[in-house]
């Protein structure tokens, strides 16, 4: 007879980046939370690349931090190199990326979890979700582990990452394990299928790790971190994290590398058909790159430290599932790696995940009340993508128990909103990676203003302190007042002004101009103009940055705000959750099928579903109006 070990409010299945954020959010909101993992030692593991952030992923981390998540704080404590990417481009695409000390990262996150009230960590494989019939739907009542123990709870967040029925493959070798040889979870899929969940099978991969002592760095280009490090977290004092950084190294593949790969393609499980899962296009294996881009003479290889307590180096750009002997031969053609000793082989990993269109934008399953999910289990890829979903799922699981309205960030509020909206409304057949081009309002969704966009929402969630909240209110006002002052302040073309303009290669003034007009000139900045601005108040750096950007790009920002206003109107037209679109006469058949499948929350979402035409949307609006009047 199964025994009830304990009763909890919320159970989190998995302790990766999604699981950690979900567990912390739920516990911090006061709910008794239990987090299951197949190995406590693998909490917050980084099984692939040793970095956090990067283009658009850096945005996700900043947004998560603004809402009250943990990832930004942990990487600020454990980074060993940091860089602001795209600094020469516009502010919207500046993005932070830090090299992590993987072990430190894991240890730090584990320590935070272990010291959070209401949070229990349990090493066990969850094999079943327990549900009951409730108001013609199923609803969560608990989970069961491999030993037969059941844990009663009212909400579950699934964050199983790449562990479900995982299989690691290189050459003819195929091991039924999760990443790094960790135990896979082999039972949960059956329980999900029994509960009507539709599963996908995805694939990803990782390169070899090579012993630092066997690498000749003199043949590579050294890559340094930034001189002044910008923290990820809005709560981290920048001065506190300036430290000695380690270098990464750049080298290249060459024709010989490619010849070896081509000669051994028949031994690659990717091409022989041994791998059935769908892999991501944005991080292709080196054999993929060589096949897809035959004209490219060389590919970049980034050699990055896995930490400061280890000699292992990550060989970025050369993930592979070729056999061991081919891997050796291939890596050793690369300048600096001629004598490379492999510590861990490169491999591809296949795993079960879900078709995320079964989820609402709240990350709750449409058909199973109280069941939430996040991370790679939802068909995404990347630590950052996982973390933000885990966080949103954790918060919404808690809100569900609080009886509060669940929170959905929309596409105009955050990259998090874009990510989740894409997952739940678009046909997604590969692990989904965040990209800056996916955010149509990206000029507004900058990493520098994530706090202004989201702190208040974090406060409403209950994960942002009163003090942090008050600061944002003050900051908003300070920015507004300063812009207003600059717009009113006129200066004439006196000698001092003209000399200043000449020095900065800027057109001289013929008549008076406001300071705001001068900030708008591409060649001038708010900071530099302090020289001409005697009454300038003493404002913190982050306020100054906002003043500069908001004035400089005012035209573009205004245009995007107008687009957002249109978007919001459609987004605010809610659609009934259990609406049967078959009852709407005149909708085209394809639209009916798609709408019944996706069950969009509002007209805006409906309009983004492929196969739903503008005419269908018109018909739908007329129909809704009709229902409203009846």
């Amino acid at each position: 007879m199964p025994f009830v070990e304990e009763i909890y409010d919320i159970a989190i299945v998995g302790a990766g980046h999604a699981g950690c954020e979900a567990a912390l959010a739920a516990a911090r909101l006061g709910f008794e939370t239990i987090m299951f993992t197949v190995s406590v030692d693998s909490i917050a593991l980084m099984p692939c690349n040793p970095n956090i952030g990067g283009s658009s992923k850096g945005h996700l981390v900043r947004e998560l931090d603004a809402l009250g998540g943990e990832m930004g704080k942990v990487i600020d404590k454990t980074f060993i190199q940091s860089k602001m990417l795209n600094e020469s481009k516009g502010p919207a695409v500046h993005s932070l990326r830090a090299q992590a000390d993987k072990q430190d990262y894991t240890r730090e996150m584990r320590s935070v979890l272990e010291n959070t009230d209401h949070l229990t960590i349990r090493q066990a494989e969850v094999t079943e979700i327990l549900t009951e019939e409730y108001e013609s739907k199923r609803r969560i009542i608990g989970v069961k582990t491999y030993s037969g123990a059941t844990y009663k709870c009212r909400a579950v967040v699934l964050a199983t990452g790449t562990y479900l029925n995982a299989r690691c493959i290189y050459g003819e070798i195929s091991n039924p394990t999760g990443p790094n040889g960790l135990q896979a979870a082999t039972h949960l899929t059956d329980s999900l299928i029994a509960n009507g969940v539709e599963m996908y099978r995805f694939k990803t991969g990782t390169p070899a790790r090579i012993d630092k002592r066997s690498i000749d760095f003199t043949k590579m280009e050294e890559q340094f971190g930034d001189e002044r490090v910008v923290p990820f977290s809005f709560s981290t004092d920048p001065d506190s994290i300036q430290k000695e950084q380690v270098s990464c190294w750049l080298t290249y593949t060459n024709e010989r590398t490619h010849e070896i790969i081509r000669a051994n393609l028949d031994r690659s499980p990717l091409f022989s058909g041994a791998i059935e899962g769908t892999g991501p296009r944005y991080c292709p294996s080196i054999e993929d790159k060589v096949v897809k881009f035959p004209d490219k003479e060389r590919h970049q290889v980034f050699v990055e430290p896995e930490g400061i307590h280890t000699n292992e180096m990550y060989i970025g750009g050369m993930s592979s599932s070729l056999p061991e002997d081919v891997q050796y031969a291939m890596y050793r053609t690369v300048p600096g790696l001629e004598n490379a000793r492999i510590v861990r082989n490169a491999y591809a990993i296949e795993y079960d995940c879900i078709n995320p269109r079964q989820l609402n934008a709240t990350l709750e399953f449409k058909n199973i009340d109280g069941l939430f999910s996040g991370g790679q289990f939802n068909g995404s890829s990347g630590y950052e993508e996982a973390a933000v979903q885990g966080f949103m799922a954790g918060v919404n699981a808690a809100r569900k128990l609080q009886g509060k309205e669940l929170i959905v960030l929309d596409r105009s509020q955050a990259y998090i909103g874009v990510l989740i909206d894409d997952l739940v409304t678009k046909e997604n057949r590969e692990p989904y990676r965040m990209m800056t081009s996916r955010a149509e309002y990206r000029l507004l969704l900058r990493q520098d203003n994530a706090d202004l966009r989201l702190r208040k929402i974090g406060y409403e969630m209950g994960l942002i302190s009163e003090e942090q909240y008050q600061y944002i209110l003050w900051k908003e006002q300070a920015i507004e007042e300063e812009i207003e002052r600059l717009e009113k302040k006129t200066i004439g073309g006196n000698e001092k002004v003209q000399t200043f303009l000449e020095k900065h290669n800027s057109t001289l003034l013929k008549s008076g101009s406001t300071l705001a007009e001068l900030v708008k000139r591409p060649e001038l900045t708010y900071k530099e103009l302090a020289e001409l601005d005697e009454e300038r108040p003493n404002l913190p750096e982050d306020v100054q940055v906002q003043v500069d950007i908001n004035l400089k790009y005012a035209g573009y920002i205004k245009r995007q705000m107008q687009q957002v206003a249109q978007f919001k109107k459609l987004e605010s037209r809610k659609l009934p959750a259990d609406f049967d679109y078959n009852t709407v006469k005149s909708l085209r058949l394809e639209a009916v099928q798609k709408l019944n499948m996706f069950k969009p929350l509002n007209i805006g979402q409906a309009s983004r579903i492929s196969g739903v035409s503008p005419a269908d949307i018109s018909v739908l609006m007329v129909h809704l109006e009709q229902l409203g009047r009846k």
Binding site: S56, K89, F302, M621
Partner: protein, 459 residues
């Protein structure tokens, strides 16, 4: 109210009505009308006027007066859509009505979607609930029609040119975006200069397309007109006179026009889509035989046939065949070569063809005015049917082309101003979307697919 942006469209059927009405509805309706409407003698604005009043004045495009009009002002909610509404009553005729609509769009309105006025009227409570089904039907019917004419009428060559342009644009966006997403693999150094050349070419191509769209060449708009006549009767000369350029090959040797030529001309505000065919006659020449067959089949579904008779030569079998063919069709008969000695009998032609005869000389360009008058009267008396949806499509396309062109100019300016590269892709994407409207393709996942297929990304 869901959409409060301001929309405009032509509210009357085009062609066979003496008055054309352009309707504007939405928050900015009055403001937009004021931008192009000059009240008679006044410095006053419509905005200052009372609701439900009529005003006399002129619609202007810049300095140029397009038409003398009456403007009706109806402020919401007391209008069909319950929104602020302005109706411009003009002198009708396709060209003028269309130009006024274009001026309204230029001044800031958006071309209404099919059935959109009705939809707004319903959503704003102006139409009774019992009519909801009918409203849906209107929207559906109009959309279907618009969709058919929008893509179906697009000429193959134009469609291909727009596709090529879009391919070029999306390639550049994908390149920029790949570099932004993966700055360590792909560099944008010196890219602005290269892009400058590319957008300049795009600008030139868009200009050409805009020009041809204002000539009505983007879609096959207008009255399908076929010129028939035996070889060397002067069909091509007539065509050249009408078109005003040496478009058809004209020689004295019978049978020199072997391909079907097609031209768009505006005649007294009527758009004619003129097809010139090889002369109809029995022939053993294989090439010409194909031409003749085509001529007959082209004439088969024409809205209007212009039959050219050579007045200086006797009627032959070809002429009798044609006269029989046009007997119960809409046609104009021209007796050409009036400058030479006439040998045919006007009475016989009138009797056999069932149509009046106009004497002209294509060579001397005499009598052409009478032809224009005749076509005009046929048109306005409703004898010629005409697909007005096609014209709307053309306006829509022209608008999209102009917007795409503006976006391309913005890219140029951004490069010149030294803006960061990520700003280029904002305007490039706008241009891409606008061009997509013309060929009926949306953006969807084009960009992401292009990035992955053209550029090697990632770790």
């Amino acid at each position: 109210m869901v959409n409060t942006d301001t929309i405009a469209a032509i509210a009357t059927a085009m062609g066979n009505s003496g008055i054309g009405i352009v309707r504007i509805s939405g928050d900015e309706a009055v403001e937009i009308a004021d931008r192009i409407f000059k009240l008679k003698g006044g410095k006053e604005k419509l905005a200052d006027k009372k609701s439900h009043t009529i005003h006399y004045g002129f619609i202007c495009d810049g300095e140029e007066v397009i038409d003398e009009v009456l403007v009706m002002l109806m402020k919401g909610p007391r209008s069909f859509t319950a929104e602020d509404t302005v109706e411009i009553d003009c002198h009708g005729g396709m060209l003028v009505t269309r130009r006024i609509l274009e001026a309204v769009l230029k001044a800031g309105a958006r071309l209404a979607d099919p059935g959109e006025f009705t939809k707004r009227a319903f959503l704003n409570g102006r139409i009774d609930l019992s009519q909801a089904e009918a409203v849906i039907d209107v929207i559906n019917a109009k959309n279907e029609y618009a969709l058919k004419s929008s893509v179906g009428q697009l000429r193959g060559s134009v469609s291909k040119r727009i596709k090529d342009l879009r391919d070029k644009i999306i390639f550049e966006i994908a390149f920029i975006e790949s570099a932004l997403d993966d700055p360590e693999h792909i560099s944008l150094d010196g890219y602005g200069e290269k892009l400058m050349g590319v957008v300049e070419d795009m600008g030139v191509e868009l200009c050409k397309l805009i020009k041809s769209s204002s000539n009505g060449r983007v879609v096959s708009e207008g009255v399908k007109t076929v010129i028939l006549g035996k070889p060397n009767a002067g069909k091509s000369s007539l065509m050249n006179v009408l078109v005003g350029e040496d478009r058809a090959i004209v020689t004295d040797i019978a049978g020199t026009t072997r391909d079907i030529l097609e031209e768009h001309i505006y005649l007294q505000g009527i758009s004619l889509n003129v097809v010139d065919t090889a002369g109809i006659r029995d022939t053993d020449d294989v090439v010409e035989k194909i031409g003749v067959t085509r001529a007959m089949s082209a004439a088969e579904d024409a809205d209007l046939i212009i039959y050219v008779v050579d007045g200086s030569r006797d009627l032959d079998e070809n002429d009798y065949q044609i006269m029989e063919f046009i007997k119960n069709r809409k046609a104009v008969v021209l007796l050409n070569k009036s400058d030479l000695d006439q040998v045919v009998s006007v009475e016989e032609i009138m009797e056999k063809s069932g149509h009046a005869v106009i004497a002209i000389s294509a060579k001397k360009e005499s009598g052409i005015d009478k032809l224009e008058e005749e076509i005009k009267s046929l048109f306005y008396e409703g004898e010629i049917d005409f697909n007005d949806q096609v014209m709307i499509t053309n306006v829509r396309h022209a608008q999209a082309l102009r917007e795409a062109y503006d976006s391309v100019l913005m890219v140029k300016r951004s490069v010149e101003d030294g803006m960061p590269e990520d700003f280029y892709s904002i305007d490039l994407m706008n241009a891409y979307e606008k061009l997509g409207l013309i060929i009926g393709e949306s953006v969807e996942d084009d960009l992401v697919n292009e990035i992955f297929s053209k550029f090697c990304m990632g770790k």
